[in-house]
């Protein structure tokens, strides 16, 4: 049985199902009991204040506490209210959470999830609107998830919670209230498996999170011009499902990559680099890389929007890739 539920509900269900299944899962964060953005709201009624813990405003120490708890037998989920604030815990995430399993030669494990909504949705301003997920591609030992649909969110979050590594689970605010078909029955989606959101033969567009709806709009428009775009959603940036992307490229020979995070040093940089290293013979044209402007995000919605790639930008990038634009 499948219902159309929101992204928020899907995430909440994943928490609920996993917490029922495994008593070692706890949720830590600021106002997670009431749940300012609702993904955790009312969980406290079912699981009690010992498992759904309101913390002081101290992102670094919250993540630190999750690491210590994870190393000693719990499976903590930390909610960071805005993904911009993950930078406050960068030391704990990148230097500690991701490293102790390896340097302890496998003795310690840090099974934990950082759930964090972010991204631009107009009017929140420079430090409440960024898409910072690409930052976490570089440090070792972390997994990075960024789902684009309720279905994916639920299945991936359940896998993330069961994973024995620290997983960053990025949610885009513009998607949180979107609905999508989601089965009532138990399912999981493995981390590291891409999904083809639209089949096509002419150009491969790799996009994720809130760039997927834009890519699909662009694909529709292009289809009317006879250009069939394949939209590939990696869903997890680390580990990356290179096989699926490569399989698409082997059909299309054209690659466009889209993200809302800033372009310089973003996810697209890594993907384009993989392409030119490993798939050189399958590139008939320059890779087109779209991302946020390499500047802080201004507040005014007219400005903010202009800093992000649009469906139109994707259309143009595809046309450029095909050599159909001057």
């Amino acid at each position: 049985m499948s219902r159309r539920i929101t992204f928020i509900q899907a995430v909440r269900e994943a928490f609920q199902e996993e917490m029922r299944r495994d008593g070692s899962i706890i949720i830590l964060g600021e106002d997670v009991r009431k749940g300012v953005f609702a993904t955790t709201s009312k969980l406290v009624d079912e699981f009690g204040p010992e498992r759904v813990i309101n913390t002081p405003i101290a992102e670094s120490a919250i993540v630190g506490a999750a690491i210590g708890a994870a190393m000693t037998g719990l499976r903590p989920v930390v909610q960071i209210m805005f993904s911009d604030f993950t930078y406050m815990a960068m030391e704990m995430i990148a230097n500690q959470a991701g490293q102790w399993h390896y340097i302890s030669d496998g003795v310690l494990k840090t099974p934990m999830v950082i759930e964090t909504p972010g991204g631009a949705r107009g009017g929140a301003g420079y430090g409440h609107s960024q898409s910072v997920e690409a930052t976490f591609i570089h440090p070792p030992g972390l997994k990075v998830v960024a789902a684009s649909t309720p279905y994916d969110a639920k299945g991936l979050l359940k896998s993330a919670i069961r994973d024995d590594n620290p997983v960053l689970f990025f949610e885009h605010r513009r998607l949180l209230t979107q609905r999508g078909e989601t089965p009532q029955e138990e399912y999981t989606i493995p981390l590291g498996r891409a999904d083809i959101k639209r089949k096509g033969t002419d150009v491969t567009v790799v996009a994720y999170s809130a760039s997927i709806p834009k890519a699909l709009i662009a694909a529709e428009r292009l289809s009317q011009q006879g250009i069939e775009v394949e939209v590939v959603d990696p869903r997890t940036l680390v580990p990356l499902d290179k096989e699926t992307i490569f399989a698409s490229l082997q059909k299309t020979y054209h690659l466009v990559v889209v993200e809302e995070g800033r372009r310089r040093g973003g996810f697209g940089a890594e993907l384009a680099a993989i392409a030119v290293e490993e798939w050189f013979d399958y590139l008939d044209a320059p890779v087109q890389r779209l991302g946020g402007l390499d500047a802080p995000l201004p507040y005014s919605p007219v400005l903010e929007t202009a800093c992000l790639p649009s469906a139109d930008d994707i259309v143009h990038a595809v046309l450029r890739s095909l050599g159909q634009e001057v």
């Binding site: 002081p56 405003i57 009017g123 507040y299 007219v302 400005l303």
Partner: protein, 318 residues
């Protein structure tokens, strides 16, 4: 000791401006004229306004996300605030800042999105004043929840070590978002934490504008005389919800009602009336003038154009 009459009237008018402006902003947010959410401080206007009272124009203020009181207190105008909230080209930042009000000319310094990131910055501003002998005082205002943030301790340590002209002001309004502060703050009072770093402190009724003003004045004069930092904790109460999207319901009605009795604006008005400084006619005239100022600002903001999209490429680097 009482404040002099003009000062009191000025503070009163500012508090009223804050209250009316907040209400107006709320309407405009709800009507989707303003794209951001609003964080209001109904009932706690005396803190921000009173703290800024004894400051000089050139003194530095690091204010809060719930900071209409301190921004108006420090001298920003409704038009300056509204054009930022609207994201219009006529705002000081040409639409870039939104809620993160800024006007260094009159000492209004950055309000970081991330709570607590101002602690280090305020230390730096105070260090700068001290090294350059500028005589400027820095005020770092924050909530009791924000006092739990990581850089709170290091800021106290540095301010204390280097005897910086820095006033820490904790606006203890008893709520941290949707929770009573004791759910996430271990102690009734925050101020003794400063004492443990060697920073002298006072705990003061934050709903009495005279006391707020005077405590800040003492701290500022200590700072200017090279006496180093002071920590002030003002006890007050947030009678509204956390932000425009918050339906509320978690604050006991009786608690709200009890604090309504201690409303700082009412108290100040009663004081002025008792002293014969203020009449019903004065009140009426003032309300009209303030409302007119706010309405003119709304109109100005409404009529202002949005910034030109091409401006996004400007000032990426200095």
């Amino acid at each position: 000791m009482a404040l002099d009459h003009d000062t009191l009237k000025d503070l009163y008018r500012k508090m009223v401006t804050v209250r009316l402006l907040e209400k107006r902003v709320e309407q405009l947010v709800m009507a989707a004229r303003i794209p951001c959410s609003g964080h209001f401080g109904l009932g706690q206007e005396a803190v921000g306004v009173g703290v800024c009272g004894p400051l000089r124009k050139e003194d530095y203020l690091f204010g809060t996300h719930r900071g209409f009181a301190e921004y108006i207190g420090k001298g920003m105008t409704p038009a300056e605030i509204l054009t930022e909230y609207y994201g219009k080209a006529t705002s000081l930042s040409r639409g870039r800042l939104g809620q993160h009000l800024l006007k260094p000319e009159i000492g209004v310094m950055p309000l970081p999105s991330s709570l607590g990131s101002e602690f280090g910055m305020a230390v730096g501003a105070a260090l700068s004043s001290k090294l350059r002998g500028s005589g400027r005082v820095t005020v770092n205002l924050f909530g009791e929840g924000t006092a739990g943030q990581s850089d709170f301790g290091p800021a106290l340590e540095m301010a204390s070590l280097w005897r910086l002209p820095l006033i820490f002001v904790c606006n203890n309004n008893q709520y941290v978002e949707l929770a009573h502060y004791r759910e996430v703050v271990a102690t009734e009072d925050i101020a003794p934490r400063a004492g443990a770093y060697g920073v002298p402190y006072e705990i003061v009724d934050g709903n009495d504008i005279t006391l707020v003003y005077q405590a800040t004045e003492r701290a500022a004069s200590r700072a200017r005389q090279g006496g180093g930092p002071t920590f002030l904790e003002f006890k007050t109460y947030r009678r509204c919800t956390h932000y425009t999207g918050d339906p509320g319901g978690y604050q006991p009605k009786e608690e709200i009602a009890a604090w309504a009795q201690k409303d700082p604006i009412d108290r100040c008005r009663r004081l002025m009336m008792a002293q014969g400084l203020w009449t019903a006619a004065d009140e009426q005239a003032m309300l009209e003038a303030v409302s007119a100022e706010i309405e003119a600002a709304v109109q100005f903001a409404e009529e202002s154009p949005y910034p030109d999209v091409s401006t996004i490429y400007e000032h990426i680097y200095a």
